[in-house]
């Protein structure tokens, strides 16, 4: 038992490695900002493509979404990080992670937006169009605000997934939270930094996870 505490909950080691982890957390934050921002925008465009009346837009959009959903994000990341240099495209770890997870999450956000947009009754679009609003104005002022509200729990829960996903960046040696923690582990021969990282994730994400549950229950009621 004492060994367990010494190896996993060693306060001394935790305190010692905390600054390193906080640096990692900052990188995690930057990654999240990039991936969430890009993903929300890319996802919207993919969703609009998938909902288009034009077949040449709709089919490629669906194909891309489903391809990205079938491919594990880590595989996409490794492909971009280790594969693209062979094509003469050297890319920084940060850019590789941002691009890989942007692609991956665009597909997930797209599915959520699509469900949201489809949940808005057609009468809303018709009323807006009958008032002379353009397609774009109808989307921006009438459909999207309602769509986003209807799928807020899903948007939130996917955003939690993004934060968790950024931990995979450690695989390509990007010094984010988990990488820093694992680095600290190998330096101290002690798993406490990993446990500390887990606690940081928990503190950040637990409230969001609770919120998602609460929201979903309210919608069901």
């Amino acid at each position: 038992m004492q060994d367990f505490i010494r190896l996993f909950f060693n306060l001394e080691v935790m305190a010692q490695t905390l600054p390193l982890l906080m640096q990692g957390l900052w990188m995690t934050a930057k990654l999240c900002a990039a991936v969430i921002g890009l993903g929300l925008v890319g996802g919207l465009f993919l969703a609009l493509g998938a909902l288009s009346h034009r077949r040449w837009l709709r089919w490629p959009a669906f194909a891309l979404i489903d391809f990205l959903r079938a491919l594990p994000p880590l595989v996409l990341l490794i492909f971009i990080y280790s594969g693209l240099p062979f094509a003469g495209l050297a890319i920084s770890p940060f850019a590789a992670v941002a691009v890989a997870f942007f692609l991956n999450n665009s597909a997930y956000y797209a599915e959520i937006y699509r469900a949201g947009i489809q949940s808005v009754p057609t009468g809303q679009t018709e009323a807006a169009r009958a008032c002379g609003l353009t397609t774009g104005q109808t989307l921006a002022h009438v459909v999207l605000p309602q769509a986003v509200r209807n799928v807020l729990p899903d948007l939130l829960s996917n955003t939690v997934e993004v934060v968790k996903l950024t931990s995979l960046a450690s695989v390509v040696s990007l010094a984010e939270l988990l990488y820093s923690a694992n680095m600290a582990r190998s330096l101290t021969y002690n798993a406490s930094p990993l446990v500390l990282a887990a606690l940081v994730y928990l503190v950040l994400l637990w409230p969001l996870v609770r919120l998602v549950s609460r929201y979903q229950r309210r919608l069901a009621a």
Partner: protein, 246 residues
């Protein structure tokens, strides 16, 4: 008759193989209120929806104050839709905006009115339908009749030349119908050109200038309300009316 405000010429509409409208011809003079009645599935809604191209006509022309809305480009269409107000059976107020914002949105975005002016106009229109005091309420907190009156105000705020009504009272509880009809009567008295799909026969008798009976995608018979209701000529009209009254 002077130049009609709304003229439907040889309008046809098919959904795939289904011919819903076959050769509809109808003129509505300026300031006239025309009632359209007919059995379910006869194409009344489709005809109305063709008038602002929510439904794309298969062939024919629809003239709004002399300009054809069927042939025009999509940018011209948005401008012409401003001249055609539409009121739906299901109200379709935007649930995420309060009442006055509902009435302001298209004024600002489509008519490019300044915000202040749009708000003033919106409040004036809400006043007209008797709901100025509910301007800051969310639509879902209003009764059906109130929601429908806001929808009318929303259309009126754009200064349309014609108003289309698709069964504006049939989703309402009976005791709420009167308030909406009163607003429509007031609108008629102020000289608005109106094309109304509705089975409120009493109201038609009192306020309509003409009644059109549609069946199977055709205008079967038209005339003054007294004549259509009291002495319909066509057999199909007689059958329909006796069914409705029963």
């Amino acid at each position: 008759m002077s130049r009609p405000m709304l003229e439907i010429v040889a309008l046809e509409k098919s959904f795939g193989d289904l011919k819903v409208l076959r050769d509809i011809n109808l003129r509505v003079a300026t300031g006239e209120m025309v009632f359209v009645i007919g059995p379910s599935g006869s194409g009344k809604s489709t005809m109305l929806r063709c008038c602002n191209r929510l439904e794309e006509p298969t062939s024919g022309a629809i003239l709004i104050d002399g300009k054809d809305i069927v042939g025009c480009s999509s940018s011209a269409l948005n401008r012409m839709r401003l001249e055609v107000g539409m009121v739906f059976q299901g109200f379709h107020l935007y649930p995420h905006m309060n009442v006055v914002a509902n009435v302001m949105l298209a004024q600002i975005k489509a008519l490019k009115r300044p915000k202040d002016e749009a708000r003033e106009r919106a409040l004036a229109m809400l006043d007209r339908v008797g709901l100025r005091h509910r301007a800051e309420t969310m639509p879902t907190q209003l009764s059906g009749g109130q929601q429908q009156r806001v929808a009318i105000a929303r259309a009126l705020a754009l200064d349309p030349k014609v108003m289309l009504f698709d069964e504006p009272t049939s989703a309402l509880d009976p005791e709420l119908v009167g308030s909406v009809l009163a607003v429509m009567k007031d609108l008629k008295d102020s000289g608005m050109t109106m094309l109304v799909v509705s089975h409120e026969m009493g109201f038609a008798r009192e306020a309509a200038d003409r009644v059109v009976f549609m069946d199977g995608g055709l205008v079967v018979e038209e005339g003054p309300p007294e004549q259509i209701f009291a002495n319909p000529k066509a057999e199909r009209t007689q059958a329909f009316l006796s069914r409705v009254r029963a």
